[in-house]
C-alpha cells in the first residue's frame, strides 16, 4: 500500500475498457448474430505509490496491455477514472499542460518493431522526445544525451547513424527503452520490456532500471510473463484474470503465501530450470473468452474450490496481509493459506 498520507502517483478507479468486435452490422442483421463485446478491462482499482514498481501478471489476453495503454492515454476508458499525481486525466486541459503531463510518463511497448519509425535514424528516434520537450541546451548537449542513453542500454553512440531494420530484435527493444528514458520521465509503463532480450542483456537492463529507480525515484508499471523477473523487480504485484484483478500483494507475500486459487496455479507454472524432471503444471481447464465471460467469479469453471455461490456472485476484493484478494473461499475462510519456498540455485 502507498505510504499513509501521501498521495499515490497513479490511481486507477473502477477502470473499464470494452471493445466492440462485432461483425459489420449488415452481416449481423442478415445472420441474426448478436453484438460481440470484449470486456478487456472490467473494473479494476490500482494505486501506485511514487518510487515503487507495480507489476501486472496473468494469462495472455487477460488485459494487461490494455491497462498499460489506458494509463498512458492511448485508449480512452469506457468507464472509470485515471489520476496521475492528483490530475484527473480525462479532464480536458490546455495543450501545454497536457504536454507537461505527457513528458512525465512514457511507455515501452510490447512490440518493439511496431513502435519505431523505420524511416528515422536511431539518433533521431531517441532525440525526438528531447527535442519535443526542449530538454537539450544546444546541438552538442543533444548529441551527448543521446550518446549517453544509447550507452546505458548497451548500444554505442555510433549506432545512432543506423536505421531500425539494421538491428536485431533485442537491439530494437533497447532502442525503444533508450527513447522512453530520453524525456526523463517519472513514471514508466513497461509492457514486456525484456522478453526479446537474452538473459545477460536482460539482467543489464533490469539492473539499469533498478539503478534509475534508486537514483531518481522512478515509478514503474511493469508487465511481464516471466515470474522470476517479476519476483526480482517488483514492490507489489497484481494478478489479473479475464479483465479483473484477483489478487494484489507485496511481492514476497504473493510468491511465498499466494492466496487466490488462480495465483497458486500461476505459480505452479514457473519453469523448472534445474531440470529435476518436475513436470510444470499448466493451469488446468480452458481459457474462457472475454467476449462471453463466466458468471460470478470468472475463474469458477477452472477453480477446484468453486461452489454454487462462486458461479452466481462476483467476489469483491477484501483486505489481506497488506493486499487484497477477491475470492469467496478465502473470504469464507475455507481455503487455508499455504507456504511456498523456492530452491536457491547455486
Amino acid at each position: 500500500m502507498p505510504d499513509g498520507g501521501t498521495l499515490p502517483l497513479v490511481r486507477l478507479s473502477a477502470l473499464k475498457r470494452h471493445f466492440d468486435v462485432s461483425p459489420p452490422w449488415l452481416v449481423r442483421a442478415l445472420e441474426g448474430k448478436p453484438r460481440q463485446i470484449v470486456q478487456a478491462v472490467d473494473g479494476i482499482d490500482i494505486e501506485i505509490a511514487k518510487g515503487e514498481t507495480f507489476s501486472l501478471v496473468g494469462e495472455s489476453g487477460c488485459g494487461k496491455s490494455t491497462v498499460a495503454r489506458l494509463v498512458v492515454g492511448l485508449y480512452p476508458p469506457t468507464a472509470g477514472k485515471i489520476e496521475f499525481d492528483g490530475n484527473d486525466m480525462s479532464q480536458s486541459r490546455g495543450r501545454a499542460e497536457m504536454a507537461a503531463l505527457r513528458r512525465r510518463m512514457q511507455m515501452i511497448f510490447q512490440d518493439p518493431f511496431a513502435s519505431l519509425n523505420p524511416r528515422w535514424r536511431v539518433f533521431d528516434i531517441v532525440a525526438e522526445p528531447i527535442r519535443a520537450f526542449g530538454l537539450a541546451k544546444d546541438a552538442a548537449d543533444l548529441e551527448q544525451r543521446v550518446g549517453d542513453l544509447l550507452r546505458q542500454v548497451r548500444l554505442t553512440p555510433a549506432d545512432g547513424r543506423k536505421f531500425p531494420h539494421e538491428f536485431s530484435g533485442g537491439q530494437r527493444q533497447r532502442i525503444s527503452i533508450a527513447r522512453a528514458l530520453a524525456s526523463q520521465p517519472e513514471f514508466l509503463v513497461c509492457d514486456e520490456p525484456t522478453s526479446a532480450l537474452d538473459v545477460s542483456v536482460q539482467a543489464q537492463i533490469l539492473n539499469l532500471m533498478m539503478d534509475l529507480q534508486r537514483r531518481f525515484g522512478l515509478t514503474y508499471l511493469f508487465i511481464s510473463h516471466n515470474l522470476a523477473v517479476v519476483f526480482h523487480i517488483s514492490t507489489r504485484v497484481g494478478v489479473m484474470y479475464l479483465g479483473r484483478l484477483v489478487e494484489v500483494a507485496p511481492t514476497d507475500t504473493l510468491f511465498r503465501r499466494p492466496k487466490h486459487p488462480y495465483t497458486r496455479m500461476l505459480l505452479d507454472t514457473i519453469p523448472d530450470l534445474d531440470m529435476t524432471g518436475r513436470q510444470r503444471a499448466p493451469v488446468a481447464g480452458e481459457v474462457p473468452s472475454p467476449i462471453d465471460p463466466p458468471t460470478g467469479c470468472a475463474f469458477h469453471p477452472r477453480c477446484p474450490f468453486a461452489n454454487e455461490r462462486c458461479s452466481r456472485e462476483r467476489p469483491k476484493p477484501v483486505e489481506s496481509e497488506g493486499g487484497t484478494v477477491a475470492c469467496h473461499a478465502i473470504e469464507e475462510g475455507r481455503l487455508p493459506v499455504e507456504e511456498r519456498s523456492y530452491a536457491v540455485r547455486g
Binding site: V229, R280, P282
Partner: protein, 338 residues
Amino acid sequence: MNAPAAPLLQVRNLRVEFPTRRGTLLAVDDVSFDIAPGEVLGVVGESGAGKSLTGNAIIGLLEPPGRIAAGQVLLEGERIDNLPYERMRRIRGAKIGAIFQDPLTSLNPLYTVGRQIVETIQTHLPLSAQAARERALDLLKQVGIPAAEQRIDHYPHQFSGGMRQRVVIALALCAGPRLIVADEPTTALDVSIQAQIIALLKRLCREHGTAVMLVTHDMGVIAETADRVAVMYAGRIAEIGPVRDVIKSAAHPYTRGLMGSIPSMGVRSARLVQIDGAMPRLTEIPRGCAFNARCTEAGERCFRERPELMAAGATRAACWRHDTGGVGAVRTKEAAHA
C-alpha cells in the same frame, strides 16, 4: 533421441555478410550444425549474435543486402541455399514452416486471421474452402485460442500480443511441414500457454518426425523442449551439445555467464548477476577469441588465436581452455590493453 538418423537439415560452414558503407559486416561466420528428424535444436545466445539471420538464411529469407557468402544448407539431403526464388517459395510453404520473431510481419492487417490461414492452407493442400476452414479452426484450437469459432473472423489488431503470436504459429503449421524454424515463438506468451505450444511442437516431432530449430532467450523453454542446444556469440557457435550438459555443466565461459544471469526464484537481491561489458560490434570483432574482453579466464593465447569448436567434456566448445595447449599465460585486463 534414437541417433543416428540421417539429418533432416544440414548447415555447413554458413557465412552471412552485409556489405555496408562502413565495410563488410560478417554477421554469421562459419556456422555448422545438423538437426535429425524428430529433434529439437535450441539456439540461444547474446542479443545480436546472429540467431535470426541464421534462421532466415536457412529458409531463404535474408533481406538484401544481406547474403549467404559461403557454405551450404541441405534439406533432406538436397541443397536449398541456391534455388531460384519461386522454387524456394514453394518449399518454404510446403516443407518448412517459419515462425518469425515479429508476429506482425507475418500477418496482413487488412484480412481476418481466418481468411489468411485458409488461403495458406489452400495454397499448399488440395482442400475445399469448407475443409480448409475446419482445418484452420482446428489449428487455432490447438494453439490455444479461446472461443476460436468467434475469433477466427477477427482482425489481427483485435488480438492480444500473445494471441497474435499463436496465430503465426498456426500459420506455420498449415501444411504439415518437415522442418519448423521458430524464432522466439513463445516470448509473448505466458508460461501456461508456452507449455501448451511446447507440447504441440514436441508432439509434431514425435508423431511426424518434424525437425525444429528453436531460437529463444527463454532457458526454461530450452530446458523443457530442446534435445541439443547451440549457444551463439558474435556470429559464431560458442558451444553446442546435449541440453542437460549445456545447462548444468557448460564448458564455455560465455555459456556459464549466460546461465548465471537467469534470475532465480530463491533469493531476491538488489542486483541481478550480469556479464559485464557488451558483445563487440560485428565490424570490430577482436583478434583471437571474440569473448576475450569480457572473459575472466582469458590467457595470452585468447588474444592471438581464434578457437574453433573442440571436444569439451560432453559438449563441443570454442574455447582454448579445452585445448591441450591451454589459454597461455594469464594476462590481466590492463596488461591486455597495453
